[in-house]
């Protein structure tokens, strides 16, 4: 299996606090890998280092074998990484299709063109992308009036615009209604299957994680503590302890009563 993304000893400390501690993992082609963990576990820090928003204190990130540690978000995007944000980040003054066209313009190196009409460029490609995420009929709508779930789908279309090998999704279903969550993750896993894209995502909704992820990693206090299939993770005592607490307090109380 080809390795698309690999980290080696990824570490980030803010002053004395080690937010991410020696994290190493591999993501294979066509894989849907979930990164879960309680609040403050270091998921977002980890993500930001992969995407270039933060520079790691130590460790390296490899994209298809190439060392991309410390590159800017722009450069990493150019190397074939798409991303969606926890809180959608879109161009509110444009239509849905123009949002996607903007990414296509950038991908084709046309940002500094002054003569052509932007809204006429790459319309078909943009429409195809919108069609894929089920947004084709809303293409001409003003993006500021869209429902949140639709914005998320539009963002997915943007992230796929440059045909990335890797998709990073930071809490893709955050802020969505339960029904929409299932639909969005189904859509994502279909795309993974169709296009052979690899996806790394963080998520708080365990239903989403267990029903769609091929493999799950658990992060706690900056360190990877478990990794495996849904069943492995579900049955891991360590994970249960992290999420539910060890129950040590209650058992101590029971001992005392006894």
């Amino acid at each position: 299996m080809t390795v698309v993304l690999e980290t080696k000893g990824l570490t980030k400390s803010f002053g004395g606090l080690v937010a991410v501690d020696d994290v190493s993992f591999q993501l294979h082609k066509g894989e849907l890998l979930a990164l879960i963990g309680p609040n403050g576990a270091g998921k977002s820090t980890c993500f930001n280092m992969l995407m270039g928003q933060l520079k790691p204190t130590a460790g390296e990130v490899f994209l298809q074998g190439e060392n991309v540690t410390g590159l800017t978000p722009r450069r990493i995007w150019r190397k074939g990484v798409g991303r969606t944000f926890q809180i959608t980040s879109t161009y509110a003054s444009m239509t849905v299709i123009e949002n996607v066209q903007m990414a296509l313009l950038s991908h084709n190196g046309e940002v500094f063109r002054f003569l052509s009409f932007a809204h006429k460029r790459y319309r078909e490609e943009a429409m195809a992308l919108l069609d894929m995420v089920g947004m084709a009929e809303q293409a001409e709508r003003h993006c500021a009036v869209l429902a949140y779930g639709d914005l998320k789908r539009m963002e997915l279309a943007i992230a796929l615009a440059h045909d990335p090998a890797l998709l990073l999704m930071d809490e893709p279903t955050a802020g969505m209604a339960p029904k929409e969550r299932v639909a969005l993750m189904q859509l994502t896993s279909d795309i993974v299957a169709d296009r052979g894209v690899s996806v790394l995502f963080t998520e708080h909704d365990m239903d989403v994680v267990f029903s769609h992820a091929h493999r799950i990693m658990v992060l706690n206090r900056g360190a990877l503590i478990a990794e495996g299939t849904a069943a492995d993770i579900r049955n891991s005592e360590l994970v249960q302890e992290v999420y539910l607490g060890g129950g040590t307090l209650f058992s101590a109380e029971e001992d005392a009563h006894a």
């Binding site: 161009y91 509110a92 003054s93 990414a103 950038s106 940002v111 500094f112 052509s116 615009a161």
Partner: protein
């Protein structure tokens, strides 16, 4: 050594008024997020009211009582301004309020002219403090010493108010997060009014306190504005200790500048500001503005589209009518049309930055006046033919814009705006004080166009060609991939950066392009008038463009042009009357309140509403 000490004391005394005015402005900005351009006017009112009161109130008690009463009176004026002018527009788009405050400046200017007349008033000496003290042999006016001693007490009282009282807690909380304060049940409307009153009272107090040193005149409002902004920005917006320290730095520096480098006094202040902001981008005691912290108020901007065939027909018809002007219009009307066209191009170039880029430049006159001066200097000193100077002027302005933009784009929001203002002022002071080259206050004259252009009608066509061409070019670029990238960088820098768009480069280039177009307008201007003076570079010129863009409509592509044409036209009619500023000021305030989306924006809304009512409201 003796002189040195004396100068420091003078500087500290001068810092007193500056500090009072600046901390008022800082307070108002911190809580209401309004950049109050009218603050200089409140200062001026304080001086005038204080003067009048001193005429009636006798003795030392009367003198100090008059100062106090002047502060209170100006505080009440502040309440009026806040309630009548600003309250209706708090929900308008960001920075729109500053246009309203500019209207207030004009109104106050004429009111002061009507009440107190055009002559400068010499401030009365403080009773019992007429002489000088000798400190190390140097004479120091007694009043300076008193000022020097009072200021720390006022600062301390303010500090107590802000740090120790309930009102102070509310003010500080609102400075950090005013939505949260509102959510906790504090009546924001009264908090805003209260803070505005306090800030105004401080400005009034500052104006009255400096009477024995400077008197009162009608230029005080703009003269104090630049140093006050510099002080507030250097100290950090919203910080009182910062304002105090910065006021001292600027005042002391100014006193030394007058002694050792008299040609550079004006420049010095802005150089200091630029240096401070390069090292500490949010001022000495300022706090970083978190992006999007204040939210985008108002409706989201609509997607843009190239004009429909109908609109194009209308515009083409309008242009033809304009082009036929020499057939039916007088020579004067051609001159007026030339002026309006030039101003429209200038406004459109600012609109490109402000509307599409979200880059609020407070110093756009730098490129307009810059272009004008490049052309003028080339003709005067290099004997360059007019055509060559005309071509090089926009280039020079564009290059200047690139350089200035490169520095300014490190900052965001209000600090960005202030830094652009600082650079414009820097250019202005250079031109103003470097008399050998630029002619200083006397300007440069005898700059007529080439022979083939030296005719009102021909020059009108020349202007029509370049101004309309420039405006169309700006408009076309808005629809090009570059224009879209500029909007993308404004709407969501995060998304743009993570889809491979180098937003800073895009913005920098936009800055250069807007500067180029501003410079073109300046070059057209210089040869239409045959002369150029430093006031083409001054703050008021930058504000003209800002106001026009806001009133035309920031969020509509045609905003700059519509606003430019409307206001230049109105101004031309109004300036024939004596108190035209009063009318213009009220007109501006009126438009701000009635049409917060600008003229073009409100027209568009009206058209839409008519359309939807025609179709039976089917949408």
């Amino acid at each position: 050594m003796e002189l040195f000490v004396a100068q420091i004391i003078t500087g500290l005394a001068n810092a007193s008024s500056l500090f009072l005015v600046a901390c008022g402005l800082s307070l108002i900005f911190g809580v209401t997020r309004i950049v109050n351009f009218a603050h200089g006017s409140l200062y001026m009112l304080g001086a005038y009211i204080g003067y009048s009161l001193m005429q009636v109130l006798p003795g030392a008690f009367g003198f100090w009582g008059a100062i106090l009463l002047a502060g209170i009176a100006v505080g009440l004026v502040g309440v009026l301004v806040e309630m009548l002018v600003l309250r209706p527009v708090y929900r308008a788009p960001e920075l729109f309020q500053l246009v309203a405050t500019f209207g207030v400046i004009l109104v106050v200017q004429d009111l002061a002219l009507i009440i107190w007349g055009p002559e400068d008033l010499l401030g009365p000496r403080a009773p019992g403090l007429r002489g000088v003290y000798r400190i190390m042999g140097e004479p120091i006016p007694k009043y300076d010493i008193v000022l020097l001693l009072i200021t720390p007490f006022i600062a301390l009282a303010l500090w107590y108010l802000i740090a120790r009282t309930r009102l102070g807690v509310l003010v500080r909380a609102a400075t950090q997060d005013r939505e949260m304060v509102g959510a906790l049940g504090v009546n924001q409307a009264w908090l805003f009014t209260g803070v505005f009153a306090l800030g105004s009272a401080l400005a009034g107090l500052g104006g009255a306190l400096q009477l024995p040193k400077g008197g009162a005149d009608l230029l005080m409002d703009f003269n104090i504005l630049a140093p006050v902004f510099v002080v507030v920005v250097i100290g950090g917006m919203g910080s009182l200790p910062g304002a105090y320290l910065a006021a001292i730095i600027i005042s002391v520096l100014n006193v030394f500048g007058v002694t050792y480098l008299p040609q550079s006094t004006l420049v010095l202040m802005f150089v200091v500001m630029i240096v401070v902001l390069m090292i500490r981008p949010y001022g000495l005691f300022g706090r970083e503005e978190v992006a999007g912290e204040h939210g985008q108020v108002g409706e989201p901007e609509l997607p843009i589209k190239p004009a429909s065939p109908n609109v194009r027909m209308i515009v083409a018809a309008g242009l033809i009518i304009l082009a036929l002007l020499p057939l039916y219009g007088s020579s004067f009307s051609q001159v007026l049309a030339t002026d309006i066209l030039i101003f429209c191009l200038f406004a459109a170039s600012l609109h490109f930055l402000l509307g599409l880029g979200g880059l609020v430049s407070f110093g756009h006159a730098a490129y307009y006046g810059g272009g004008a001066y490049v052309a003028a200097l080339l003709v005067t000193h290099a004997d360059s033919p007019m055509e060559l100077a005309f071509l090089l002027a926009p280039l020079g302005a564009g290059l200047a814009a690139l350089a200035i933009g490169w520095v300014c784009l490190r900052l965001t929001g209000v600090y960005f705006a202030m830094l652009t203002l600082a650079f414009a002022q820097l250019l202005w002071s250079l031109v103003f004080q470097w008399g050998d080259v630029t002619g200083g206050d006397d300007g440069l004259v005898n700059l007529w166009p080439a022979d083939w252009l030296n005719d009102t009608t021909v020059y009108f066509y020349f202007t029509l060609l370049f101004a309309v061409g420039g405006i169309l070019m700006l408009r076309h670029v808005a629809h090009s991939p570059f224009g879209y990238a500029l909007r993308a960088a404004r709407d969501s820098q995060r998304q743009a950066e993570s889809t491979g768009i180098d937003t800073r480069r895009v913005q920098l280039l936009a800055f250069g392009f807007a500067g180029l177009m501003g410079g073109l307008a300046g070059a057209l201007f210089v040869f239409s008038k045959g002369s150029v003076f430093p006031n083409e570079l001054e703050i008021a010129r930058s504000f003209d463009a800002l106001i026009v863009v806001f009133l035309g409509g920031v969020k509509t592509l045609a905003g700059g042009v519509v606003g430019g044409a409307f206001f230049k036209g109105v101004e031309d009619i109004l300036t024939r009357f004596e108190y035209w500023r009063l009318v213009m000021g009220f007109l501006i305030i009126f438009v701000v309140i009635l049409a917060p989306e600008g003229i073009a924006g409100s027209m568009r809304k009206l058209v839409r509403r008519l359309q939807s009512s025609k179709t039976g409201g089917s949408q």
